[in-house]
Amino acid sequence: MILGRMVGTVWATRKNPRLGNLKLALVRPYFWYDPSHDVDHLVAVDQVGAEVGQDVIVCLGQPGRWAAGDFRCPIEASVAAIVDETRIARKSLSDAQARFALRQAFLPASLQWTEGDTMAEDRSR
């Protein structure tokens, strides 16, 4: 999955019938899998109800296609969750380049830096 910020909504009147009434969110990813995918936006199906400005997790590829319950849907990305909080441990980024990439990057609104290596175990919600 990819972490990104929802920056807008895409409206379309003429579309593939399998897309039905699915809402399309315009997401700007904070990080990509690979630099070759380096465009700064992504259109994702939103069934969670994200709003502009929220951080979202986007699921790509075949698993994302199942979001609509139909594998024939022309979908490649779907919003899987709305993020409350992102924590990155400063210590875990030993490489200067990774630190630099994160400093230069468009950073999550929900980001909090932590110092520790481990986290409280039972915070899963």
């Binding site: 199942w66 875990s92 980024l93």
Partner: protein, 104 residues
């Protein structure tokens, strides 16, 4: 699969029902650094965790449809995840058995 280091965690309350109850980790892909160690790069991905990986662990991450195979059937069919922590890595070596190069 790809080697990655766990660098953080993501908390989400509102999520798709197909992702309910999954712990989410931020993992950064690794590449070989200059001093015989694997270094995290700026390629950061959100992966689900089923085996209790913690921040600082080196992990192997399964991608795409393969991520669902990390979960036990039958509930893995509909899971909404394209990256999952498949194992926690103890050691990595490069090269042949005669002259292995140990990476951290």
């Amino acid at each position: 699969m790809m080697l990655a280091r766990v660098i953080g965690e993501v908390w989400a309350t509102r999520k798709s029902p197909r992702m309910e109850g999954r712990k989410l980790l931020l993992v950064a892909a690794l590449r070989k650094g200059q001093d015989a160690a694997m270094e995290p790069t700026g390629q950061v991905v959100v992966a689900i965790d089923t085996i209790g990986a913690r921040i600082g662990h080196t992990v192997a991450v399964a991608w795409g449809s393969g991520a669902r195979a990390v979960l036990a059937p039958p509930d893995n069919r509909s899971v909404l995840a394209d990256a999952a922590v498949a194992r926690i890595v103890d050691a990595v070596t490069l090269g042949n058995d005669d002259q292995p190069e140990y990476l951290e």
